[in-house]
Amino acid sequence: MRLEVGSVRVRDVQLDGRVALDDHALTIDGEELRRLILEDPHFADARVSVVKPGESVRIVNVIDVVEPRWKVRGAGGVFPGFVSPAVTVGDGCTHRLAGVAVVESAAPVPGESTVFRERLIDMAGPGADLSPFGRTLNVVLEFTPNPASFPPGSEDVKDVLSGGPEAAEYTTAVQAAGLRVAARLGRAAAAATPDDVEAFELPPCDGALPRVVCAIQGLSLTAFLYGIRVPLTLGTLVHPNEFFDGAVVEWNRGYAGATYWAENHPLLAELCRRHGRDLNFVGVVLFGGVTTTTADKEACSSAAAKIAGLLRADAALFIGINGSNHAVDLMLAIQKCERLGIKTTLVYNDVGEGPDDPGFIFAVPEANAIVNAGSRVQKVTLPRMARLIGGQRLMDPAIDPRGAITVPMRYLHSAVDPYGHSRMTVRFE
């Protein structure tokens, strides 16, 4: 499996009557994209706008962020299971519109889960420096739900974490629409000559190099893999190239996560780059899900360690969730790997506040190599923005979304997460 990822750098995006890419300037047809969204009966209307770094704009109610990509050679297509057949991807050649992000912004609907939902993007000020999507050219999609999607009773939510089934179905439709748009825009780069091409491949290599797995606990709790959203409690094995072709689509209700970072996974890309030189990258273990019992947590952590063991891994690079009971699954998986002789390192976010709170929900002594990828509860003050996109209010009705606000860092989309792209960290003194 060899994937060439060709980056076509985009320096400007304009709403115009056609989709085209000309000398690194992307023009998009808002009406065509709107029709593409409205193919799905969940929506009564949709709006497409373009916002750029430096504009005094705040985008609220952000669901997912996706990078436009298109497969120009090889089996299947991008975002398999959503816009392409659900066949194994990761081979051939894929073009990406570097510097462009499709932002799905959808206000809550009846039965919406409110947990973890607050995400926003500022295009100017300190928020734009902190969130990577304050620095991208953003094609923002807004949605008007079709009321028929929400029959009486839709607002009744028994499970606060998951929300009602109609709301979940609607959010899936929002994400599917965002992926269709991202693929459509990516297609504009099909014939372009990439500015640079990077090949990702894991050929057999020097047997003396340490065998490394990347063990990823689903940050969005239950992501879509090839369009299928099932808990990976018992883990599964994935090739990093599948991520780069959009086989993993993050779920908005998660603790953190953006499909953009699954497509551009910095840790997976770095492990690929070092394959054959410093290490032997043997695969990605995806694991995790909502586990509500001790038995489930034992099963989940055991499965992750078992897969790493079957791959005869010497080392496992973990990415995981802090701040909820999922920390137990993660820490147990680390402990079980170490007991199998697999050395672990963890990329993790701080969720503690105050000097008496060490910042861990749960920890094992074997977790003795941790990279602190920043605090999700660190407060950040964002100035007033001139324009608001994506709704008139935040989940917290007490906050005027247009005004100056002080919010935890996790509200800023992708400002703090453990994908590895950020330099934010916390030192304890």
Binding site: L267, D357, P365, A369, V371, G420, R423, R427, E429
Partner: protein, 348 residues
Amino acid sequence: MTTLRVVHYLNQFFAGIGSEDKADTPPGRREGPTGPGRLLQQSLGDRAQVVTTVYCGDNHVGEKPGAVEDVVGLIAEAQPDIVIAGPAFSAGRYGLACGAVAVRARERLGVAVVTGMHPDNAAAEIYRTKVPIVPTEKTATGMAEALSVMARLALRLAAHEPLGSPRQEGYLPTGHRVFHEAARPATDRAVEMLLRKVRGERYTTEWEVPRYTLVPPAPPLRDPATAKIALVTTGGLVPTGNPDRLESGYATKWLRYSIKGVSELPPERWQSVHGGFDTTLINLDPHRVVPLDVARELEREGAIGSLFDELFTTTGNTSVIPDIRRFAREMTQAFKVAGVEGVILTST
């Protein structure tokens, strides 16, 4: 340059009064340095002078209500610029006293405070986030070295010079967070750390996991039929209206309510204020979290000797570990005084 005034706090042992048999010694003071205070004076040099030594027995300061205030009152009389407590090495009660005296002296007098103890001293975990604690050896063999660092830090603080990081300056980590941007993204640091670890090379974690201590369970009661049993809950059960304002999370206190002669906890008189779960079912029947009804039955049947007259209650939700440790210590002391031999602790 004026010479800074230093008060040195010691326990009865280091003040030369006596060991365990003198642990009930009440607070007292002496002019000038005493015992290790002479070494402290050497470390301070001519910039500061140990004008007074204040001492107290370890049991007295730990058990007598108001004892810490009395100690700080004596310290205040000497009008210090600096208060140095200990070092306590691995002595548990002495460590707690040093921490409490240092915290209170700074609160009341606004002076520079420093203490010292072994990192494994239980008081270190409680007070390291509140006052500078210099790590010491387990025993007094490390006295001179400890006092030298303590003196240096105290002089810096008294001069209102900000301290550098614990690692640079030689005090225990305080849990203070510094948010910053690393030189390289997490990806680079993570892959490098992993490679170092798997190659057996040196690496440093960026974030230490907390050390949990295992609590050995007490031996079983020899004869429950003669034992006095107490009911304790972390389920946030309080009299209706929560008159004593128990917090629904991040509890800073525990409360005691008389259940003398009471055989039931009716829902109109008791409620749970716990903020970590749906309290509906408990508020319909408080016995679901404090089984007083069944405990009284057991008492009548003679299965247990007697029930302690008070219910101890707090909220075990998002609690801070040092606070919860303090609750346990305080509750245990009360139980020992009352002759309680067993506890039924109901959690949620």
